[in-house]
């Protein structure tokens, strides 16, 4: 329908910041940045010459907070970093401490962990789906996605007690056992999503305006990926099949049968397709955990006061946004000596200034949306 096969870009031979450049201060309060991200744009008309993200508006010094808390007190702070995938963060922290202290985790607890984390992953991707289309100017998919997400949040609320900032996993297990109502709800949700996903594809993926807005926009070439340390769907959209769940398997993921969706083109459309296909894969995982849920205890005995032995450890998990790695140093005391969070959005945003150069403002916001950023996670 539209003529342009590739997105037009500005020829950047003459980019030097000049005094009378048109400088647009995008954010920290802007509907397109989804949070307190600020980007200073040097522009020539609608074209972006340079983009410089300014971070720190949601900075809380989480790493210092962790140094002043006991190992178990840090757990609730996990949900405050990436509030859209709190359970992945829960899992990273409990797995790290379990690794350091060598705690056992009952099988049923592992199944509940994977089940709830995958539900959380779907809710995160659904929110991204809505928000990304909002960035492209389509309002309706947002509310359709929220309709599905709502059932999911109700379901997780019935189990964990909170809707967003879950603190559900415990060292050596989980906080509560799943009941029949929850399992039935999860089954119903899987059924619901199996009818909804094709409809999303029909309404959005096939839309010609949507395809023209996302195809060949914000291409990440494969040889840029490792220099910037990209991970998650942003990386998998560029053809690299890297997923922590398969490359460094943790919990019961090695026993489960699922694929890691990959797209080759590296543009916004590829990242979109990867995320939508990931919803499908998560549904597969949920079906398997529901079918094979073992009986047994949900929590093993762990000491009240947790004192990991002296040493260091790292734990990586796959959040909906990519690889989260927590590195902790223990001096044998009650509080961590040093905790470092390697968050996926941070690395994924760092490539933005490279991608935005020479793009139109509208495309830059589509790119920003396609990276699936959670700003409190970046700022920590």
């Amino acid at each position: 329908m539209f003529e342009s096969q590739t997105a037009p870009t500005y020829h950047l031979e003459t980019v030097e910041e000049q005094e009378n450049d048109f400088i647009l201060n995008l954010g920290p309060q802007h509907p397109g940045t989804h949070g307190v991200l600020r980007v200073i744009l040097h522009m020539d008309g609608e074209y972006i010459l340079t983009a410089d993200p300014v971070l720190g508006y949601g900075h809380r010094m989480q790493e210092k907070i962790a140094e002043n808390m006991t190992w178990s007190q840090v757990l609730p702070y996990m949900a405050r970093m990436d509030y859209l995938s709190a359970l992945s963060y829960n899992q990273a922290w409990v797995c790290l401490v379990e690794k350091m202290c060598e705690y056992e985790v009952p099988r049923r607890a592992e199944y509940i962990r994977v089940l709830t984390t995958e539900l959380n992953r779907i809710s995160s991707h659904l929110l991204w789906f809505g928000a990304f289309l909002l960035d492209l100017g389509a309002f309706t998919p947002f509310l359709h996605a929220f309709e599905d997400r709502e059932t999911l949040l109700d379901l997780l609320e019935s189990l964990t007690g909170s809707r967003l900032t879950y603190c559900f996993f415990r060292f050596g297990g989980v906080g509560a056992d799943v009941d029949a109502a929850f399992l039935r709800g999860a089954q119903d949700f899987v059924k619901q999503m199996h009818t909804k996903l094709p409809r999303y594809h029909e309404l959005v993926t096939g839309n010609v305006i949507f395809r023209e807005r996302t195809r060949d926009v914000g291409v990440i070439l494969p040889f840029d990926t490792w220099g910037y340390g990209l991970s998650g769907p942003v990386l998998r959209g560029s053809g690299e099949q890297y997923d922590v769940r398969t490359s460094e398997p943790y919990s019961i993921y090695p026993e489960l049968d699922f694929n890691v969706p990959v797209e080759q083109s590296g543009d916004c459309l590829a990242r979109y397709l990867v995320r939508l296909n990931e919803i499908d894969e998560s549904l597969k995982i949920i079906e398997q955990t529901l079918a094979n849920m073992p009986e047994g205890p949900i929590k093993s005995k762990v000491p009240k006061i947790i004192k990991p032995p002296e040493g260091e450890a790292s734990m990586a998990v796959e959040t909906p946004r990519g690889e989260l790695m927590i590195y902790a140093v223990s001096d044998g005391g009650k509080v961590p000596y040093r905790v470092k969070y390697r968050v996926p959005s941070f690395a994924n945003l760092s490539i933005f200034s490279k991608m935005a150069r020479g793009q139109l403002l509208a495309d830059a916001l589509a790119i920003l949306g396609s990276l699936d950023l959670v700003i409190p996670e970046i700022d920590r």
């Binding site: 037009p8 802007h30 509907p31 609608e46 909002l134 100017g137 309706t140 139109l360 509208a362 916001l365």
Partner: protein
Amino acid sequence: MITEISIMRTLLSILGITLVVGVNAIFVVWFERKVAGHMQYRLGPTEVGPAGLLQTVADGLKLVSKQIIFPQSADKPIFILAPIICLVPVFIALLPVPFSATWQAHELDMGLLLVIALGLLNTLGILLAGWGCDNKYALLGASRAVAQILAYKIPLLLCILPIILLAGTFSLREIVLVQEQSTWFALYQPVGFLIYLIAITLETNRSPFDFAEAESELVAGFHTEYSGMMFSLFFLAEYTYMLVASAIASILFLGGWLGPFFPGPVWMLIKIYFFLFLMMWFRWTFPRVRVDQMLSFGWKILLPISLLNFLITAGVMAAL
């Protein structure tokens, strides 16, 4: 000759148009929210009045009672003038629009021309708003609106020209009367009809072509700095403009007030709201087109097709 009757008639016309504009705004905003709501698993407004019909009145009262904020660096005269320049032309554009053979504020020989000319002033209002408030987002929005006007106005005019050829008149009322003799012009001009539909979506700055206020890109575009009543003037102008564009569409292509069983004005309203519903449907289902895509679409696709359409119509007319 100014007679008492003509003064009365003028006053009644003004009153009638104001009433139409006011009632239309209240109803269309409610209608749009209901349409959007049902497309999004929601109900839309339900609380104020029967089925939430008076919600718009409540919102309007709220907007009127709000403070109007003038940015410090704004160019005040331009800032104040912009919403007025946006609204007044669409008021006047309603003058020659016939709602039936007799229900018409003022019959003009050049009615269609007047409506087209006044339609251009809307963009001037947007440009002034974008320039006057000294906001970069608003300036970008205004520049987009000006860039877009050329891309759709020429195809728009080129698909109105065949209608004028067919009808042989510029008077809106007579265009309908000609259709009464033959049939709806949409059947003679299906291509022109489609292009006109696209062009009026562009003309009224509605999604998928709402670049001038592109929310996720430009915050609120040209009216970023406007608040209270001045904002609602833009809002009123947009919805009245939609009414005018839909009315012209139904007159030019769907035979205006013509139709069986119901009296003329009812048919006119049915057709107008059909077009309004189409525009709402577009808005709530499509993502936004990128500016350069729209420009290349307008220049490279709409313009040649509408030109071809015009030439073929003219050729056939000459041959017959």
